[in-house]
């Protein structure tokens, strides 16, 4: 029995073909993972399946209904969680649940859901004030109301820490009936590997469909196989690192945090955070959502005034001379913070200018950046219209434009596909070899392995600090993910 049958489906947006003569079947009662690079058509496919978009050509049958004409009937049988979760941020947790229960005409019986999501004590908190992980749980809870026959989740675990991700997975597995069909799009290969079926999309076509364990035994192998399917990744010398011009410095510890604290009312967002990062070191800041990583980051760049403690950048006290300290920094924010209505080149021109590069130097530097980042094809495109992977690359380019000796990267690979992630880390490690100090946060535990040292952050405090292998050894874990969970759970006791 199939929940979804698609034949020769095509969907175009102006000149771009998002779905290209695609055919597939999704089995009833199974969890199917949907993977693929950015812009490969995952979101478009999900929207077509539930009738939010109309196909240009081809046939779709979902639960024996045609979504193009029987959308109202279909809506009663499905639960769909869009990428932005679809929560009302100015309503509380319980108000969101009540709203969606009424919209689906199901009774207000939230006990089980609240217990499972651990949201019981946050019932009257505004959804907008929840951490990323909790928002996702609430979004999922709203979708699960009324026990839909077919559950569609569009990248529910973007930017979520390993613990929240595990919770999310458990929620889905425990709260659905064995008859429920699930379509789950993800960029985490370990997630995809654990599903019943995996569909790999590339340029609007299915390039693989089958049992993920047939493709590879472990999730690491699975990742490599998927990369091969998508055309493969060849590690080449990072031209970004090669073109980097390093500044001479006598400072040994380029980034120093000394007892940093941030107090909001009587709540410590960050408590006595101390670390010293050597020149050319990659220092990873890991921790669950809401642990205080971004707050620490903002204090380190002088965007937020610490309640206590000092941060030094290249030996300069950030509170004393923020401008001079910051001129040594390249900062990539978690949220895309370039001008979406400017073109790629205009963004680069603008950032060169504000970093003090002018006239002829600007022209040479910008054309050099366009060349080494491979932007020549897209330089006239608006930044807001780029696929996520390119947006992140452009953000990195803007952060590197003035050859800073220090790079701060806040979740640089969130929502980026596997191949782009590998490219990114190739650049980061090569830059570190040329003496760039890197402070980075990530939710991908395999990425944590690239770091020289890691500080594990939880509830505003440092739980553990050390090299990846030392941390794994400490709790006898076989990989970083396990180490992360063990260390966090240990500190919870």
């Amino acid at each position: 029995m199939d929940a979804v049958i698609i034949k020769n489906l095509t969907k175009k947006f102006k000149e771009i073909t998002a779905i290209n003569v695609l055919s597939l079947k999704i089995e009833k009662g199974k969890i199917t993972g949907l993977i693929g690079a950015d812009g490969s058509g995952k979101t478009t496919l999900i929207r077509l399946i539930i009738g939010l978009l109309l196909p240009d050509y081809g046939e779709i049958s979902v639960l024996d209904l045609n979504p193009s004409v029987e959308k109202d009937e279909l809506n009663k049988k499905i639960g769909y969680m869009p990428q932005k979760f679809g929560l009302y941020e100015d309503l509380t947790v319980i108000e969101n649940l009540k709203l969606y229960a009424d919209l689906k005409n199901v009774p207000h019986d939230f006990e089980k859901l609240l217990k499972f999501t651990d949201l019981k004590k946050f019932q009257s908190r505004l959804a907008g004030a929840l951490s990323g992980g909790m928002k996702q749980k609430l979004g999922l809870a709203c979708v699960l109301l009324g026990s839909p026959e077919f559950l569609l989740l569009d990248e529910p675990s973007v930017g979520v820490d390993p613990i929240s991700r595990r919770d999310l997975m458990q929620m889905v597995c425990n709260l659905i009936s064995p008859k429920t069909t699930v379509l789950w799009s993800t960029s985490y290969m370990d997630e995809a590997h654990s599903f019943d079926t995996a569909i790999v999309l590339d340029q609007g076509k299915v390039i693989y469909q089958g049992n993920p364990s047939d493709l590879a035994k472990t999730s690491e192998e699975f990742e490599n196989k998927v990369i091969d399917l998508m055309g493969g990744y060849q590690k080449t010398k990072s031209r970004i690192a090669e073109s980097y011009i390093s500044k001479k410095t006598d400072v040994q510890y380029t980034v120093v945090a000394d007892n940093l604290e941030k107090l909001y009312g009587d709540f410590y967002a960050v408590k006595n955070n101390s670390f010293k990062i050597k020149k050319g070191e990659i220092f990873g800041l890991l921790g669950p959502n809401g642990a205080g990583k971004s707050t620490s980051f903002k204090m380190m760049c002088g965007l937020l005034k610490p309640t206590n403690g000092i941060a030094h950048i290249m030996g300069i006290d950030i509170t004393e001379d923020p401008e001079k300290a910051r001129s040594n920094l390249g900062y990539m924010a978690q949220k895309f913070s370039l001008y979406e209505s400017l073109t790629v080149k205009q963004n680069l021109d603008f950032f060169s200018e504000i970093y003090g590069i002018h006239d002829q130097n600007l022209k040479t530097r910008v054309s050099e950046i366009i060349d080494i980042f491979g932007f020549s094809q897209i330089q006239k495109q608006k930044a807001g219209e780029l696929p996520l992977g390119f947006k992140q690359k452009l953000s990195l380019a803007c952060a590197l434009i003035h050859n800073p000796p220090i790079l701060f990267l806040d979740e640089p690979t969130s929502g980026v596909d596997v191949i782009t992630r590998r490219e990114f880390w190739n650049h980061i490690t090569s830059l570190a070899q040329k003496g760039v100090t890197v402070l980075v946060t990530t939710h991908f535990m395999d990425e944590a392995e690239y770091c020289d040292r890691i500080s594990l952050f939880y509830k505003g405090e440092t739980v553990a600090i050390g090299t990846p292998s030392a941390l794994k050894k400490k709790v006898k874990a076989k990989n970083m993910e396990e180490a992360f969970m063990k260390l966090i759970l240990e500190s919870d006791k």
């Binding site: 809506n75 932005k84 679809g86 108000e95 009540k98 009424d102």
Partner: protein, 370 residues
Amino acid sequence: MKILHALVKKEILQIIRDPSSVIIAFILPLISIFIYMYGINLDFVTVNIGVKNDDNSPEISQLVNSFGCSKYINSEVSDNMLDLSQKLIRSKIKGIVVIPNDFSNRLEQKQSADLMVITDGSEVNTATYLQNYILQISNQWLATSKYSQLMSPQIVNPQVRTWYNQDSNGYYFILPGSIAITMTLIGILLTALVVAREWERGTMESLLSSNVTRMHIVLGKYIPYFILGMLSMIFNMILCIGIFQVPFHGNYLVLTFVSALFLFTSMGIGLLISTKLKNQFFASQISIGIGFLPALLLSGLVFPISSMPEILQHITRVLPPRYYITFIESEFMAGTIPSVAIKSSIFLLILGIILFIAVYKNTDMRLTHD
């Protein structure tokens, strides 16, 4: 019904949480009434004039004195013409009256005598007003002076009375009219953002994949903002009638009924903008352009419709504030005039229904592009 109830409740919670809609509904009318009340004053304030008298006959000095008798005019007598004209240039005085040295001589010889009156044409209203005033004063003086027999006997003598507004008090018609402008703005601004907001925040995608129908979405927006708009309307009326003591000669039930129809049309404009544009910033810009400016300039509040070019007169026919302003001014100042109230209601109802249908038809139940 349950779905609609849930949507309305959700919207009301959002209104309570988000101070901006409360500010639009209650602070905006307060500010706008103050501006209309004190900022835009069509009544005359005291005007200064200069008088240069070259004729030193005692009869003439009486005329000079009577120029300053009105409570609206301050006259200043000077012999220095240069000084007076400098003052006129600097706008210290608005007019100059010059009485030539042969003025009384000519009158004695029963000849016509000239007065020179210079006014500041950059303020046309004041200039015309001054010319009339000076003519009136000199006639009055002539009638009571020893030259009175020179005047031709006046046979026609108009006795002027201003109906509905005995004191010609400007804000008696400006304030009720301003309610129409404010309510247009409120109706449009409150609703222009709310559909766009659902698209921007991605909540529309969730709604569209639930059991919600098109009518649910449309009514779910109309009902809560209609309630808020009516509260704001009542607040406006209390300000106008209760606080600023504008006399009200009409019927409160009729006023409420036609106001409700008017709000219904304004909300339709706002919702149509929001539904079409799906972008909050763009929607708010457009609503000022489409909603506020025509309401202010083409509704007949500031400039009479009858003096507009014909094409503009036709355009005003589709503007809801036009009907509402006609209605509300007569309702306040003359009492309920059935023909005006009925005509306004019919037009507002038709416009409102057309807009409602347009909103309904334009409410997308699918995503149109990514």
